[in-house]
Structure formats: structure tokens, C-alpha cells
Amino acid sequence: MDKAAVICARLIREGSVRRAALPDLDLLDVRQEVEQRLRWVGLVLSFTVYSEHVGVRLSSEVAADPAFDKATNAGIGEDHCALLAICWVRLVFPKRTRGTLPEPPDWALFLHRPRRWYQPVQLPLDVLHRLQSSALGGRGRIRNLTSKLRQSNFLSGQGEIILEGPLLELGIDGEVMVDSIRRSILPALQGERDRDEMEPGAGEGRSEAAVPLQGLEAQVLAVLRRRGGSAAMGELSRVIESPAVRLRKVLRSLEDAGYVRRTGDRASTRYHLVVR
């Protein structure tokens, strides 16, 4: 059997295959032959730099039929779609934030091949349950939804740990997701930060100085607000990615200025946003 036929057979049988397992797909004539064969049966080759897999999906001619529904085709419902969006943000969006790291000099690229920057992210079922139970139902319901998405190859991982599956990249349009984050989530976060920074010091028990808060202090207030107004040191340290020793000083100054109230002691200490 020729190379293109074998590749097509594997792709149709498995849905997605690791790129490294199909070295012949590098050869332009083989790739063109594969694409042509797939096109004959209403499929197209699916590739993204963000995935180690290459897969197939239905061609636009097939999907353009008005009766065609992408979710029904994938065998998933509304709740699955909602869960997919959340999992995408947690598990694969971090790859898209790479551009901010400094680039290595030329000689460094020669001596040390650029290393895989991205460590696969995990999403514990517990976290999903804590954040989404009100929207998607109890633990059993979320487990069922996850299980279906695992069967369909959108997710992987076993038991309580959810990992990215090949289709989370190949079956979800990254541009649409990124566009949604840029349009909706980032402006909301920016708005919150602006509000935190411009927060006047006129609150109950606060000092009279109306100096906008900046830097770590503003971040601490923003995180407290997002956590429903209360958080423990461990959470703050993890989210802000700053050591507890440093945060303790910041929190003390926020407490003195009347922005934050502390309850509990030692391990049970919690910090609360003072409501104006």
C-alpha cells in the first residue's frame, strides 16, 4: 500500500495521530496526495502548531449544509460546549501567552535547541466542580460530561485529573476562542484593575489619602474581589505568584489603610476586603 493510503487509513481509523508518527506527511507530494484522497470523501487534513497531533475534520462543503449541526455531529450538548470552553481556557490557552518571554540570542539557539516551553496543564475535577457546580450541576453530572468529552478525544487523563485531548486543539477553533477572550474577558479584567487602582481611600476606617493603589497592592485587592472578597494567604500567593513574606507586608499596609480586614490566626488567617 502506498504511503498516502496508509496515512489516510490511520487518520480515518484514529481520528488524530501524533505528527511524529507520520514522518512521510512532511513530503509535499505525499501530503498533497493525502489531502486529495481525504477531499474525495468530504474530509480535510487538520493541523495546528499548538498540537502535537494531526487529524481530520469534515470539509466545509459537508459542514455548510444547513441541516448540519457541529455539536450534534460531535455527539455533545450545550453543557459539553460550556465545559469545553472552560477546559480550553485552562488547558491550552496558556500556550498562546508565550510571546512575552524574551527571545534567546542566535548562538543560544544553536548550542541549546529551543526547549519545549509549555508544560502540560492539569485540571483537577475538584476545581471544575468548585467553580462550575452552580452552572453545570453536581459532581456526578460534571463527571459524566467530562467522561463524554474524554471518549470524544477532546479531553484525556484519568480519574480526577483532566488533561488536554487531541481534539481540544484540532476540534476547537483557537482564533474564535482567543477572539472571545480578547473581546470579553481581558476588558473585564482590565476594568476591574482600573477600578482597583482608582479606588478612592474614602472607605470606612480608611486613611484620607486618595492615592490610587498600584502594583502588588492593587493586585491583592483585585484578587480578593475576584475571590468573593475573602482569601487565605496560600490562595493569594498562588494566584499572584508572589511569596507570602512579601504579601504579608503588603496586606499589613492595606490593613492599616483600611482596605483589608484580617480574621483568624496562623493557618486559619483569612483576609477580607473591607466593604465601603
Binding site: 502548531v49 470552553a85 529551543p114 483557537g174 482567543v178
Partner: protein
């Protein structure tokens, strides 16, 4: 010559590291599976490199700055193109060093044997010194060219034009092509537009030599081993060409989808904000982003089914039920 004075305090120069373990070829037996090192072809092939150990040891020294100074001194002495140096000539060629450091470096170079002294000619660069300089020049060229193909192509051409066995040079060319192919994968795994672009430029400039490589490969006819490697090079060249198309698509994709995080914003913030959205909003986003995926049809092959069944079920469950005795 008047010493240059500097208001800065001169730091002590990098002393030579302690003498390395001088045991070499004759002391290898303790580490080998066979009694004689000659019986291991890779070891036999590198035997003549033994004298380089002391040269490299003296060159590397203890610190990078000492290494840079020694390399620069060699560079200065070679560039001056003199066969020998009086003390004054040396001072002039190395006047970019402070007096005490210059003195120590020259002493050190004499000590390691890179500089010699002849009463008539003065100080001169020895064979060992020239050897180290040439090694450095070669390594510098390698750093500049990376996995680039032209040096390997030149060597293949030299071998073919001179009627020499081209197998070694062809293998080197194949390795470089393999390196280029791996470079593409490594660059793609960084998700960095800058790295991807630079890799694409490097690959593109190397692939300009494809026709030249193909012409050379057509000239390889005699040896079957060399012909086999030539065939592999043709395939690899085609693979690098094809993979560079992945690279072009990757650059465009990364350009459109990169989201640099502004100062203070974390991935956790974004996740928490997304998780706060309503089920309807999340479902709408997920649905809009969903592509028409292809779900593979379940294909059952009898042999595979039996294999899975045997691995999962107890043997008793697979036996046909016994016929009741009539």
C-alpha cells in the same frame, strides 16, 4: 614602553586550574568491557585526539573571562602576522590588557606551551598555540553557521572533485539535514513567533542550496554505501522542504493567536474570570468555536477483539459452556 595606568584596581588574573588527571589511553582498560581499547572501534578512532586534552584544559581554565582573555591573546598574536615577538612587540600587541595581567597571561602561555622563546627570534607561537587557535577559529565558524549546509556541501564537493570516498562528507551532510528537520520541530514547540520566524529564515536560506545538493548527489555513483546515503539525503531534503511549509503555517497561526499577558495579569485571573461566566455564555462560545470534527467510526477486527477480550476476561468466561450430558 610606558604602561597604561588605570584608576580601576586590577583584579588578580585567572590562575590555571590544578593539573588534570594525566592518565590517558594506557589507563583506559579499567573502564572497558574488553581488555584492549583498540578493540573498541570508536575509541580507536579518537586515539589521536589525546594531546588535545591538555590544550583544551589550559584553554578553558577556571572562568569564562580567563578563557576570553586567552582566546583574545591568541587572536592578537596571530593577527599581528609576526614570526616572533620581542618583549616590546608583545606589550604593543597586547596593550589592551593592564600591565600585571599582561605579564601573567604571557607567563601562563609559556607555561602551557603555547608560547615558546628563542634567543634570536624572541617569543613565538608554538605548534600547540597554533593548533588551539585553529580549533577556536573552527568552533567560531560553527557557531556562526549553526546547522547550515554550505560547509558540508563544500566538503562533499571537495571529496567528489578530488576522487575521494564521499561517504563521510555525505553522512555529515545527512546529519546537518536531520538537525535542520529537528530544528523545525523544536521551534514549533516554543509557540514563539520570534523563534519561528528566525528558524524559517535559517531553513529558507539553507534550502536555497537544494539544487546544488541534488547536482552533487547525482555525481555519487560508485559506492553502494555512498549511494544509499545519497538516497537518504534526497528524502531528508524533501522532508525539510515539506516541514518548512508547516513552519510557514505555524508562524501565521501564532501571529494571530498570541495574547501577551499585560503586567500583573495572570493565567489564573483569566481562568477565574472565564469560570464566572454563565453557562449560556460559555456554551455559546464553545459552540461557536467548535469545528466540524470527524469522529472515527468504530471498526472491529476479529483478531483485535479476541486479544482485548482475552486480556480483560478470565479464561473461564471465554470457554464455551459445556454441553449437558444427556
Amino acid at each position: 614602553m610606558k604602561e597604561k595606568t588605570s584608576s580601576r584596581k586590577t583584579e588578580p588574573y585567572d590562575p590555571l586550574p590544578p593539573d588534570p588527571d594525566r592518565r590517558g589511553w594506557n589507563a583506559l582498560a579499567g573502564w572497558l568491557a574488553q581488555p584492549a581499547p583498540e578493540e573498541a572501534p570508536p575509541l580507536a578512532a579518537v586515539r589521536e585526539l589525546e594531546p588535545l586534552q591538555s590544550l583544551l584544559h589550559a584553554l578553558a581554565g577556571r572562568s569564562a573571562r580567563g578563557f576570553l582573555i586567552r582566546s583574545a591573546v591568541l587572536e592578537a598574536l596571530v593577527q599581528s602576522t609576526r614570526p616572533g615577538f620581542s618583549q616590546e612587540d608583545l606589550d604593543r600587541a597586547l596593550d589592551w590588557l593592564t600591565g600585571p595581567v599582561r605579564k601573567e597571561v604571557i607567563q601562563q602561555l609559556h607555561q602551557v606551551g603555547w608560547l615558546g622563546f628563542d634567543p634570536d627570534a624572541g617569543h613565538f607561537l608554538t605548534e600547540a598555540g597554533r593548533c588551539v587557535y585553529e580549533m577556536l577559529a573552527f568552533l567560531r565558524q560553527l557557531l556562526l553557521e549553526g546547522n547550515s549546509l554550505p560547509p558540508a556541501i563544500r566538503v562533499v564537493r571537495l571529496a567528489l572533485d578530488g576522487g575521494l570516498d564521499p561517504l563521510g562528507p555525505l553522512q555529515s551532510l545527512r546529519l546537518r539535514l536531520l538537525g535542520l528537520r529537528q530544528e523545525i520541530d523544536s521551534a514549533m514547540a516554543t509557540y514563539s513567533e520570534a523563534v519561528l520566524r528566525r528558524t524559517a529564515e535559517r531553513i529558507g536560506s539553507n534550502l536555497k542550496h537544494s539544487d546544488e545538493i541534488r547536482t552533487l548527489l547525482d555525481m555519487v555513483q560508485d559506492l553502494s554505501a555512498a549511494r544509499e546515503v545519497a538516497g537518504e539525503i534526497r528524502t531528508l531534503l524533501a522532508r525539510v522542504h515539506g516541514a518548512s511549509a508547516w513552519l510557514a503555517a505555524a508562524i501565521e497561526e501564532v501571529r494571530r493567536q498570541s495574547v501577551p499577558l499585560e503586567a500583573g495579569l495572570t493565567l489564573e485571573d483569566i481562568f477565574q474570570e472565564a469560570a464566572r461566566r454563565s453557562r449560556e455564555e460559555l456554551a455559546a462560545v464553545g459552540r461557536a468555536a467548535l469545528l466540524p470534527v470527524f469522529i472515527p467510526p468504530p471498526l472491529v477486527q476479529t483478531e483485535a477483539l479476541i486479544r482485548v477480550a482475552m486480556s480483560r476476561l478470565p479464561l473461564s468466561a471465554l470457554r464455551p459452556p459445556e454441553e449437558p450430558e444427556s
